[in-house]
Symmetry: C2
Subunit: 349 residues, 2 copies
Amino acid sequence: MLATVIHAARDIRVETVPDPVITTGDDAIVKVVAACVCGSDLWPYRGVTPTHEPHRIGHEFIGVVEAVGEAVTAVQVGDFVIAPFYVCDNTCANCRNGVSTSCLNGGWWGGDDRNGAFADGGQGERVRVPLADGTLAVVPGPVRDEQIPGLLTLSDVMGTGHHAAVSAGVGPGDTVAVVGDGAVGLCAVIAAKRLGAATIIAMSRHPERQALARRFGASHVVAERGPEGIERVRELTGGIGADRVLECVGTKESMDQAIRSARPGGMVGYVGVPNGGPELPVRQLFNTNVGVNGGVAPVRGYIEELLPDVLSGAIEPGLVFDLELPLAEAAEAYAAMDERRAIKVLLRP
Amino acid sequence: MLATVIHAARDIRVETVPDPVITTGDDAIVKVVAACVCGSDLWPYRGVTPTHEPHRIGHEFIGVVEAVGEAVTAVQVGDFVIAPFYVCDNTCANCRNGVSTSCLNGGWWGGDDRNGAFADGGQGERVRVPLADGTLAVVPGPVRDEQIPGLLTLSDVMGTGHHAAVSAGVGPGDTVAVVGDGAVGLCAVIAAKRLGAATIIAMSRHPERQALARRFGASHVVAERGPEGIERVRELTGGIGADRVLECVGTKESMDQAIRSARPGGMVGYVGVPNGGPELPVRQLFNTNVGVNGGVAPVRGYIEELLPDVLSGAIEPGLVFDLELPLAEAAEAYAAMDERRAIKVLLRP
C-alpha cells in the first residue's frame, strides 16, 4: 500500500510500504478515508526536530474498520471510526482521569521504533491501530462526504482547541483571547463560543483567517502583536485583560503574549507544542495570579462530547481545511502548510 | 510609639517612631493587639533582598480600631479587625474578580516609599490603614484571648494555605500532597482537609511539624525529598501521583518537587514567594498536562469564609505559633525563625 515517509527535512515521499497486519488480539486495521497534515508535522519537515532515519509520519485520520483482532469488542468491521492522534486503552488510571495522552499503555503514531512509538502513521492507505477498543471512536450511522472534514478535526485540532478552552476554564460570560490563528487557534474560537464565552478576541493578521475566526464566533479581531496587541486586548476587556487566554502556538513569544493578555487571576489554557521549551516566568505569574494549564490534548475523551455538534453542523471545524489533495501529493501538502499557503490540508488516499 | 524597623540584613530594631495619623478620609488607625513575623520577612533579614535604607517592616496584624476618617463607613471605633497583608479597596474590578492582591488602588505594608508601598508596617503599636473600608475585616462580638493566634493567621498564613488549595482545585475525595512544612504549608494541610481531601500527604522532616501536620489532617507524612520523595508520593497515590499538590516554599527545588509529585492532569497550587524566580519547565508541564495556578494570596477575600471556622475552633491554625514574644524582642523573633527554632512567632505590643 501507499503511505507517507519522511526521509529528512523537506524530504517527504509517498512510498509503497507493507500492508499492515493484525499483530495482537487488540488490534484493528483501518482503511483510511481521510488524513491530514498537522502543524506539528512541520517540525521534522523544517528540520527543527531531526529525522535520524526514514519513518512513517502523520497522526490524524478517520476511516473504516477492515479487520479486528480477536479481543476487540467495541469496534466492528465496517464501523466508521475516528482515531485520536495517539493510542490509548481508555481504561487505565490516567485515561479515567481524563488524561488519555498519558495512557499507561498507549503511545504515538508514526515515530521510529527508538522512540517507542508505533511504526504506522496516519498519512497512508491503511493503519494498524493498537488498543483498538480504547483508541477508536465509532461514528454512528452513515457518514456523508461533506461531514468528512469536520469528523477529521476530531482526531486532533478541534479536540485540541477544546482542550485549550477547557484547561483555561472557559465558561458562560467570560472574556476570552485566542493567541494563534492556525487550525487549532481557530478551533479554540469555536470551543470558546460553544462553552458560552461572551467576548472572544481572535489575534490574527491574516484577512482570510480573521474572517474564519469571525464566522466561528470571534467578536473582535486584534491584528497587533507584542505590547500593542496586549494593549488592544486590555482596551477590549475593561482595562484589566481577558478572563481566559487560549495559547495555540507554542513559541516563547506567543506564550508571553498569552500570559500578559490575561487579567489578574485569569487562566492561560495552552496547547501549542512548546517549540524549544520556553520556560514560564513564575514571578510574573505569581504577582498576577495568572495560572497556566493545559498540554498535549487528550482529545480521545472529547470525541463523544463534540461529535453530535459536528454531525449536526452546530459547529463547523471542517472549514479549517482550505486545501484538499490526493495522498500521492503529500509533499505538496507539507509545502503548502510550511509556506502558509494553506491553513490545513486534507489528504485523500 | 514603638515599631520595628529594619536597617540592614540581620539588623532589626524596635524604635520610637511617630504615631500614625489619619491622612485621608478613607484611613483608620488600628491599635495592634497582635502581630507576627512572616517567612517572607526573612528575605530582607537574610539579605536575599537588599535593604536600601531603614524602613518599617511587618505586614500581619490584628487589632482594635482607634480612629476612622470621615469617609469610612464599614468599620467603627472599637471594632476588632483583621488586616490582610496588603491594602485593597475591595471594590475595583480585580477585587471583584477575587484578586484583591492586584487591587487597582491598593498597595503593600512596610516598604520604603520608593516601592510605592505604604510606610507603616504591622510590627508596631499602631498602624495607619489606608482604604480601611476595603482592607479591614471586622470580627463580630467579643474576642477571647485564646482566639488571638487563630485570628492572626487570617491576615496571611491561613488564607495563603487556603489559596494554595483553592488554586489547585482541591475538592472532596482528592489526593493532595503538600510541599513545605512552614506555617503556610501547615495551614495548607488544614485547608485541604477542610475542602474534603481524602488523602493528605505532608512532606516534612521535622518531628514536631509532622505531628502538627497530622493533627491538622495529614493522613501520611513523607520525610524524603527529591526523587525518593516523589517515589513515596507515587506509592501513596496508586502509582500516578497526587491529584493536587500545594507548593508552599517558593524555591526551584520545591517547585520541581511539586510538579513531579502531581499526577498527569493534576494541578499545582503554589503560594511560595518565588525565591530568585525559578522558571517553570513548560515542556514537562505540557507532556503531563500538569497545571500551575496560584500566586500572592488574595487573603482579604477569604477572611469571611474562614472566620467562622476559626472562631468555632473547627480549624486551629493558631497552633502554628510556637513562640510568643513582646514586641520589644522582635529581633529575637526574627532570629528564632531564621534559625528554625520557631515555626512562627507572635508579637504582642
